[in-house]
Amino acid sequence: MQLETIIGLEIHIQLSTASKMFCSCSNAGEDLPVNTTVCPICLGHPGTLPTINHQAVELGAKLALALGCKIQLVSEFARKNYFYPDLPKGYQISQFDKPLAKNGQVEIVWLSDKQIVSKQVGIERLHLEEDAAKNFHFQDKTLVDYNRGGTPLAEIVTQPDFRSAEEARVFLQELQKVARYLEVSQADMEKGHLRCDANISLRPLGEVRLYPKTEIKNLNSFKAVEKALKYEQIRQTELWQGGQGPKFSSTRGWSEAKGETTEQRDKEESADYRYFPEPDLPPLVLSEDQVEEWQARLGELPQARSKRFMAEYGLGFAESKIVTDDKMVAEFFEQAVSEGREWLTTLESVTGSKEEIWRNNGRKLVKLIYDWLVSEVFKHLNAAGLSLSESKLTPENFAEFVALVYEGKINSSAAQIILQEMFTTGEDPAWIMKDKDLGMVDNLADLADLVVGIIQTNPEQVSQYQSGKTNLIKYFVGLAMKESNGKANPEILTKLFTDHLSSK
């Protein structure tokens, strides 16, 4: 029997607002001492009332718009009633039958076996709610940190549109990127900013009905999502092949250590949350104009930017993805390219209109910018544990640096030194080049003297060369480079050595 996998995701994203969802407490409690960002409201003291954080509404709505959802001009908060120590009021204020946004559609595009594949994923809804506090379980007690309690959350429910664990993982990564582009959340899975429960079931290929699903909880990384779903896919396949798929819906927890899912005792399934409209909050009413304004201010989303970079700068799919995954990197790259483009037109060696110059030389420049960015700059960033915006490197200086390389004013070893210096001091590359005397020596007369000197002091190698060991040319060039402190132009050196040695 051929089986089809059906996966849907429920995702919670913490919104990076200044204050909490329903009170004015700071939303930065994650980094602060326990139980310091709390007040009578988020501790559920008697008599307190919630008020809606409009920044949270804006961030939630922007995320919904970016996922192609339709914003509901009238939405409603509801109480989800259950007892737990991390829930001070005995109910969570959430949205139930009137969510903030519905019916979205997102395209995911990724490389699968070196093929570019894409898929449409339906979004059922996005709603706003408050996060619970954090429980810390010890052997003999449980302690609660209420700093997190009341953090604004957007809950996103997808349609059961995924057919593989890989698709689900790709979607989550895309969602993270979108959230970061919009600056609505840091969306760090390890830190719990982005949390995911995955629902999975199988069915015989060709059937349309859905079979009892398994909900997998405790997925704290993209890898965990993919691994747990793959594990569950195999487990359920075996059940089907053994005669029958799961009979009932169930909840299973993912254990990273064991690499398996295990059945959890299920409070959820039997719970009756007794949802009813939150009487302390009037319906949330938004105007058409407001929604349009948010839509207009979304900016370019990661996928659109990636496609544009491919078209505009001739990057390949994977290359474009690398520079657009992070909004800051994409902006840095694009600024550097734009600076470089200006600089190209000032060169004496090129002629024609700006467009012609770009058409003829742009590809090479972009390639240099890309290569130096992705190999060297990223290496420096990783080593220093910094992000681009935290480093001293500016796109202007970086473009100027690439221009020096492009023009052959510095050779690659000098370039390494200059880039390192730019990182530590933030200085202008031309200035560093002069200051450290790293400019490439390509004066023929000077280099010829150097070559002659080396030939005179290495007679043994010269005769070996002349008797056919021509790859000693590298040895000679290396000596010359060393003697010139790395500044000599290696291409010219090679030519000079070849000429001098053959004329002997």
Binding site: P40, L43, G44, H45, P46, G47, T48, L49, P50, T51, I52, R79, N81, F83, P85, P88, K89, G90, Y91, T142, V144, D272, R274, F276, P279, D280, L281, P282
Partner: protein, 481 residues
Amino acid sequence: MEWLTIKQVQNGLQNKDFSCTELTNFYLQKIDQQKNLNAFVSTAPASALAQARSVDEKISRREILSGLEGTPGSIKDLILVKGLRATAGSKILENYQAAYDATVVDRLKKSGMIILGKNNCDEFAMGSSNETSAWGPTLNPWNITKVPGGSSGGSAAAVAADLGVFSLGTDTGGSIRQPASFCGVVGLKPTYGRVSRFGLMAMTSSLDQAGPLTRSVEDAAIIFQVISGTDDYDATCVSRDHEDYSANLAKPIKGLRLGLPKEYWQTGLNAEVKTILEQAVNKYRELGAEIVEVDLPHTAYALAVYYIIMPAEVSSNLARFDGIRYGRSSQTAKNLWEVYAQSRAEGFGSEAKRRIMMGTYVLSAGYQNQYYLQARKVQKVIEQEYAEVFKKVDALLTPTSPTSAFGLGEKVNDPLTMYLSDIYTVSANIAGLCGISIPAGLTAGRLPVGLQILGAPWTESKILNLAYQFEQATIHHSQHP
């Protein structure tokens, strides 16, 4: 210094007939002397006297008093006053100290009120007789074998017994008006959304409103003026123009049309109460109002609607009392479940438990449609029906309660009969109206009877005007226990 109104207090202070310290001591002593009434669950003599002294200093500097400066009063224990115990009449909050001031309290304090203490009330405002309080019932100052009404029974008794100039109560289904009626004082329930609920322990969030209990209509208008208006901490307290509620009190009411809803004057209404109230209606005729009979056929369902919506919200609102962060936490609990179950079993009284169970039931999957959602639909119908009637009349005249104060213990074991004592008051909450109960006379047994005036939403000025004109034309308000 007896039976003073706010203006009399300020005139007396300003004229140095008495000092604020003397006045405050006078009330504190009376509260102490009449402890048997059990109208207060706690007093705050130190802060009250300190405040009184600063008023006296102000007077000695010949400064003019404004607002409520120098006016001693009390606050229902359901409402939070920073630093004072707030028990809401419940054992589960026996040692709970308020961490902040309710918005209404903040406004009263800023206006200069001197807080004498906190008034006894039914547990979490759930009751019509003050007998569900964990601290024992309040007694009716007119007859201590009778209940004061509820849930703001301690407030009404305190005002009736002159244990302060006024008290602040709350009204969810009649909890200001019914005790006002039983104790012969004025009680105003503002339109839902007029007064901030921030700092009121929620019983039924969609119906609760705070309001004054006073010995005069003018005082009710003054207190209402201070406490009303939008609040950033309460999203349901909606923006409305802030009128001068005292400005219209003296306006003649000649030509106003007043409706007598048939449904309020028929079966179930005690004959003696009916006679007294018919005389009140006649007084309005004499004052030039036009009296017409109106129909409100769906009002009969208001009590049924109330007893679904109210417990539904109660079951959710009382969930926070879980023994985890504050309040009573069972000392014998051995696991989380027992912390919940035992703390709540020990802390809540039987009426609270009854309503939590009813509310949990009507919200449950499979029952929510036929109970909670159905009740919300009927609520809309009732609201609409009142809106139609208020197109034809300026206000409605009704009894506040079917009887005068009943005996202690008389109904406490019969919840259904107890619930019926709110039958004339709940509609105002269900339909979002404003209402006021004013003294309309005494029964042969010298128990007060209240007349209720109901107004369309946001027409407090109009019902205060009607109440004031009646008060000025009668002597009922000047009769005391």
